[in-house]
């Protein structure tokens, strides 16, 4: 038991991600990997047309230039795990909470589905279960048993594949070793063919993400809202920044 009088100390960890927009080719392998890793239900054409698609990660497309010299920039958009998250303060039941290692967690069993958090998320990455989740025929046989199940009427979102983080941490605790940088890889990072995404501890000075986060290209989306997002985008070098 911890002594309640002792002031709470945040962990030394702050999980974060670096996404190199120059490297992203828009193949959406991350989207597919995320679906299979996190048991994201398929919604079908009709529901997708009603903006009820459940993808925890999607690609924002920005077009620059005049025809025929059009360029597309792809920005993978997932939960930014904000340090000062707007979704957390408005949830009346503490379903949206901050973890010690800087993750923005969603407690599905506590969620009552007020959708307040989704309104307040400026990135539109929180997804609502409008009906009980269903999977098309062969997909239900590859469900990941490590992921918490969601039911109709709750909000869900990217967790940075928290099941992989926790598994690595527990494995290393058993062996008495430390998690090394680059060892934990969420599904989207693992599947990226161009290695545009990188996951790691932003507080660890020697990690790859921390060094990239300090580069001159680093940029955070909608940083002017003062919500301290923990995904750093490396802006494209060739053109004026698209966002």
């Amino acid at each position: 038991m911890t002594d309640p009088k002792v002031e709470y100390q945040w962990d030394e960890t702050q999980w974060g991600m670096v996404i190199d927009v120059d490297r992203c080719i828009g193949c959406e392998a991350c989207v597919v990997a995320c679906r299979s890793e996190n048991n994201i239900p398929t919604v079908g054409e009709e529901q997708a047309a009603m903006s009820r698609i459940m993808d925890w990660i999607h690609l924002e497309r920005f077009y620059t230039g005049e025809y025929p010299n059009v360029r597309a920039e792809f920005v993978p958009m997932l939960c930014q795990q904000c340090g000062n998250a707007p979704c957390e303060s408005v949830c009346p039941v503490f379903a949206s909470v901050h973890t010690n290692d800087g993750l923005n967690a969603q407690v599905y069993n506590r969620c009552v589905g007020t959708r307040f958090c989704a309104n307040n998320c400026p990135y539109h990455v929180r997804k609502f279960n409008y009906y009980p989740p269903t999977w098309q025929s062969p997909l239900e046989q590859q469900l990941n048993p490590d992921v918490t199940a969601r039911k109709s009427g709750v909000m869900e979102k990217c967790t940075f594949c928290i099941q992989r983080i926790r598994k690595a941490e527990l494995d290393h605790r058993l062996e008495g070793t430390q998690v090394s940088d680059g060892q934990i890889r969420p599904a989207c990072v693992q599947s990226c063919p161009t290695e545009a995404m990188l996951f790691g501890d932003l507080k660890d000075k020697n990690s790859a993400v921390a060094s990239l986060a300090n580069s001159s290209r680093s940029n955070r989306v909608l940083d002017d809202l003062n919500i301290n997002p923990h995904i750093i985008y490396l802006r494209p070098e060739r053109v004026d920044n698209a966002f």
């Binding site: 529901q47 009603m50 903006s51 009820r52 698609i53 924002e60 497309r61 920005f62 920005v75 958009m77 707007p86 303060s89 408005v90 949830c91 009346p92 039941v93 503490f94 506590r110 969620c111 009552v112 589905g113 007020t114 959708r115 307040f116 989704a118 309104n119 307040n120 400026p122 990135y123 539109h124 997804k127 609502f128 279960n129 409008y130 009906y131 009980p132 039911k151 109709s152 009427g153 709750v154 909000m155 989306v221 909608l222 809202l225 966002f243």
Partner: protein, 463 residues
């Protein structure tokens, strides 16, 4: 023509017994026509309940919602009902505090509106949540997990504000109802008499009882004012604390509050007129003078609303706030152009032009139509804010999701309207809708002076 500074309000010309008889006439009465009407309303309410049950079983997919329109018709209706519910406390409390003698005809009408619309409003956040079965997670009830709700969330503040307001206004209504229940007890027999004896808590009309009643009414009218202000300000904070352009505004507190009072007064005028038309015995108790005074209050609130309405736009225009200007453009000239300009005419142009004239304020039919128009306009305003704010809300690629309420949502909203109207009619059948003792008190206080051959009415204070 009355003298300057002297109100031209005159207490009912009937004798005391006539006043009592006239107010009591609808109590206990029923007609085939109204029974059929209540039956139809009941069917609508049951149908809405059935659709809501379907929603709990199927999921929120039966609504028209989708990202980024996570809130929709339910929340707009919630704000609308809260606004209408503001009639009660404002009319009774302000008029009691200022000692307006004409109040007695409208106080209870207004309080009973609150009694039925506030539960209707409070039910909508619970209807709208995804897991209706566990709505009690939102309430601060003791539980084995020692989990408290998040007190930083405006939904939590809503719960406290609405429950305080409901408790306060029910007590306010009930305490002023006691003498009338005591009077009613004498007029009925059998089991009804037992019911009224229990309801009137053995009211005998002794001096200490009257003293306590007066004290309670005075205390309630002062204490309920901050609650009234808090309720709708907090409802506006549901929106104002969010990052949605067009919602994230400091003016929302007063804007929603004044809007609520505006629609509340309109609702009182609507109900007053319907009562006057359906209960012929109320003629002489509700008069054109009441319409004149209510119209003045209506005009002041309309002007205040218009000021805050423009105040919402102008700072953003000066600041060149792109996101918000896009929202305004979308509202005024793009997707919401028709509702927006209908609202502008109904809420701003018509009340301002019409209510400026005493002749119009004394025209019952005109006031009735205007009150309906204002409430339609206020409903559209809430719909524009809720639908429009979210539809245009996409900071990144600015996709617009067109939200349109589904049949289920419309059914549930219609059911709430049906339930409120049916509840009101049933209340009028069981309880006197005009406060008899206040009417008689006004009558007793009225004194007449002959000045230069003309009669001048004034009201004497004190016991």
């Amino acid at each position: 023509m009355p003298f300057k500074g002297v109100p031209d309000f005159v207490a009912p010309v009937y004798s005391n017994k006539e006043v009592i008889d006239r107010v009591m006439e609808p109590v206990g009465s029923s007609s085939l026509r109204s029974n059929i009407f209540i039956f139809i309303l009941g069917c609508i309410a049951l149908w809405g309940g059935w659709k809501f049950w379907q929603q709990t079983q199927i999921g929120m997919s039966v609504t028209g919602l989708g990202s980024p329109s996570f809130w929709g018709f339910y929340i707009a209706t919630f704000v609308f009902w809260i606004g209408v519910a503001h009639a009660g406390a404002l009319i009774s409390a302000i008029l009691r505090i200022t000692g307006a003698e004409w109040k007695s005809a409208v106080t209870r009408i207004a309080e009973v509106i609150t009694l039925f619309t506030l539960p209707a409003a409070a039910s909508f956040p619970l209807i709208h949540i995804g897991r209706n079965g566990v709505f009690f997670f939102l309430l601060p009830v003791p539980n084995w997990r020692h989990l408290w709700p998040n007190f930083r969330s405006p939904l939590m503040w809503d719960f406290f504000a609405i429950s305080t307001y409901l408790t306060g206004s029910v007590l306010f209504l009930y305490s002023t109802l006691l003498p009338d229940l005591g009077m009613l007890r004498q007029r009925v027999t059998g089991w009804k008499r037992t019911v009224y004896i229990i309801l009137s808590w053995g009211w005998r009309g002794t001096q200490p009882e009257w003293k306590r009643l007066k004290e309670a009414a005075a205390l309630f009218s002062v204490l309920i004012l901050p609650v009234v202000i808090s309720v709708h300000t907090i409802v506006s904070w549901d929106f104002a604390v969010q990052l949605v352009p067009g919602w994230h505004e400091t003016v929302f507190g007063p804007y929603f509050f004044i809007g609520a009072l505006f629609s509340g007064v309109a609702a009182v005028l609507t109900v007053m007129t319907i009562l006057l038309w359906t209960c012929p015995s109320f003629k002489g108790l509700i008069e054109t003078t009441h319409y004149d005074y209510m119209g003045r209050l209506f005009l002041v609130l309309g002007l205040a609303w218009a000021y805050l309405f423009f105040n919402e736009f102008i700072p953003h225009y000066y600041a060149h706030d792109n996101d918000v200007m896009y929202y305004f453009w979308d509202m005024a000239f793009h997707h919401f152009a028709y509702p927006f300009w209908i609202m502008f005419v109904f809420n701003f142009v018509c009340p301002l032009v019409c209510l400026s004239f005493r002749e119009f304020r004394k025209n019952i039919m005109g006031m009735f139509i205007l009150s309906i128009m204002v409430n339609i306009g206020m409903y559209i305003e809430r719909i524009c804010i809720v639908f429009g704010g979210l539809q245009t809300y996409n900071n990144l690629t600015r996709n617009v999701h067109f939200y349109f309420p589904s049949f289920t949502e419309c059914s549930v909203v219609a059911a709430s309207f049906a339930a409120v109207i049916a509840g009101y009619i049933l209340f009028c059948r069981v309880f006197p809708i005009l406060p008899i003792w206040e009417l008689l008190e006004t009558k007793a206080r009225q004194k007449v002076h002959e000045v230069a051959g003309k009669k001048v009415y004034y009201f004497q204070w004190g016991e």
